[in-house]
Every structure is written in C-alpha cells, then in structure tokens.
C-alpha cells in the first residue's frame, strides 16, 4: 500500500495534520507522482494510528478547530525504511488511450486524429506543470537531487508519449489503408 508509506514519508519529515498532508504534501510535492483525496488521507491516518505506526496529539487553537497533529513512531519509521528498501513491481500499464487504439482501426481518420491530438495536448500540459515544479526545487542537497530524479522520470515519460503521439499523428496524416467494414459494423 503505497499511500500508507507516502504518508509515513511525509510525516517523517515533519509532523502534520491531515489538512497539512493534503494541501502541502500531496497537492504540491507529490502531485505529479501520487495523488490522494482528503477522505483517503484521513482514513489512512486513522488506520495507521490503530496499527501503531503514527501517534496523534491535539493542539488547541483559539477560535478554530483543534489541530490533530500526527507524528511517526519508531515502528512507523521501521515500516517506512523497510518499504523504502524493497523494490516494488512496475505499475501495471493501464491506459485508456492505448485501449482505444486497440480498437481504433474502426474509426475514420479524422476521429482517430482528434483522439491522438487531444492526448498529445494533455501530455504537453503535464510536461509544462512538471517543468514548473522542477524550476522551483533547485538545491544541492542529496534529498533535493534524488527528488529531482523523480521529476526527471515523470518528465521523460511525458516526453516519450508526446514524441510517440507526434509520430502517430504524422503516420495517420500520411494515410492509412481504409478500413473494410469495421466501421460499417459499428455504425449500422
């Protein structure tokens, strides 16, 4: 369960509330790598506390709701360390666009092109977001350098998709054989 360990990781850097984790960690630094929704974070924090990997303390705040600040325990640090050390299986490739393309021969050229171009633009936007992130974090520490590798990985994946889509678009524009009756079977 990667989310558990992502939370342990962030808490090991700094004790935080659920709200902090959502807004400062997941919506900012982990945005391009792993997203998590609020409900998920609170649920996970409860579970982690039950299994003794984090503890919480209430910090009263005059006027506004108490902060419930979570911190990792020793057991939590051990769990994090263990997870960090072990290699995990590749994420299963599960891409709606590729699936569409598997059956995309049934579409006429213009619709096929629309599909490819929309995806291309999506990756382009993702790449720009990543570039912004990369611009912000420029430090010389080990942590910053490793974190920079993370961004590089995400960026190179986006770039690969863009290049591939550009090639695919060219090939469709250059002309594909017309389809026999696949479209007919689908439209009728």
């Amino acid at each position: 369960m990667s989310l558990d360990h992502a939370i342990l990781g962030f808490l090991s850097e700094q004790p935080s509330t659920g709200y902090d984790l959502k807004t400062r960690c997941f919506d900012r630094v982990a945005r391009s790598v792993w997203t998590a929704d609020q409900a998920q974070i609170y649920r996970t924090l409860e579970r982690l506390e039950k299994s003794g990997l984090v503890t919480s303390r209430l910090i009263p705040q005059p006027g506004r709701p108490d902060r419930k600040e979570y911190a990792v325990t020793q057991a939590g640090r051990r769990a994090l360390r263990e997870w960090l050390e072990t290699p995990h299986p590749l994420p299963p490739l599960r891409d709606p666009l590729l699936l569409q393309l598997l059956f995309g021969g049934a579409l006429p050229d213009d619709q096929l092109l629309a599909l490819l171009e929309t995806a291309r633009d999506g990756y382009q936007r993702r790449l720009e977001d990543l570039r912004k992130d990369a611009g912000r974090a420029a430090s010389e520490s080990r942590n910053a350098k490793v974190r920079r590798m993370t961004l590089d990985g995400a960026m190179s994946q986006a770039r690969a998709s863009i290049d591939w889509l550009d090639g695919a678009i060219d090939r469709v524009r250059a002309g594909l054989p017309a389809n026999g009756d696949a479209l007919g079977r689908l439209t009728r």
Copy 2:
C-alpha cells in the same frame, strides 16, 4: 469504465465466452495495455447483459461445461462507438518507484542503486515482451497498423523509463552528496 468497453471491443470482433476473453484477449492481445482478472470479466459480462449491451446463448458441449457465448447487441455497438470517439483523461501518474524516490534520499547509495536497477530490469523485460508481440502482428490492414501504433506507444514508454533509469544510475554512481541525518532518523 474502460473494462466494459474493452470487452465490447473484443466481442464486436468475435463472440466469446468469459474464458475466451480472459485467455485469448486479455492475456494475449491486451496484455500490455489493460489487464483484467477472471472474476472481473465474468462480473462485467453479467452487468453488460443486464444493461442490454450484450446477449448470451448457451452452447452445450458433450462432456464439458456449456459454453456461455456472449455477443454485442446493437446498443452495445453504439456504446462502443461512442466511447471510441470520445477522448479520455490521461491516466493519473501513480508509480510506486517515483514515490519511493521522493523519499529515497534517506537511503544509502547501494540501496538506491538496487532500487533503480531492479526497476530498469523490469522495464527491460516489459520491452522485450512488447517486441515479441510486435513481431507477431505484421499485417498491412488498417486495423493491424493502428494496433501496431498501440504497441509502439507502450514500447516508447518503456524505452523512456529505461533511458531515464540508466541516467539516474550513472548519476548515483558518479556520486551524490552524503545525506545529513535522514538515514540516522530512520535507522535509530
């Protein structure tokens, strides 16, 4: 729900049983694009039948269990066509390795390298599988060409990951700044 449409897509090519879909379609041609387990496929077929997108007929087989063969209906073809035409959002980037790397600065060089190298090997294996698939399907039809684009996409993603990981491995070997006390905080 992409799985629904993947099933509709395969059935539109050829009526099949759940077993056929699992072994001939998902474990073979869609393997590199979308995986599905058996239970999932049977459940989805039931649901699709209830909503009138597929129909089934029992084909008795002497000795062994009846084949329950599903076929798309007109409504099913329409649903498939509609899904094929509309662009879908990019798959969220959710990669355990990238997440590990986010906190990977706490690891010593050798463990960091082990992580990167394992992942590299994984992508290498995936790429080889894809190459085998690409070798098999060499036809001149529109469908085959579009399907070939699908494989190209999957391959270029794998290649991008390999290149990135090679670069990252080199950079770690070339020497990263030592970490302050992050490791200490984790080990103690």
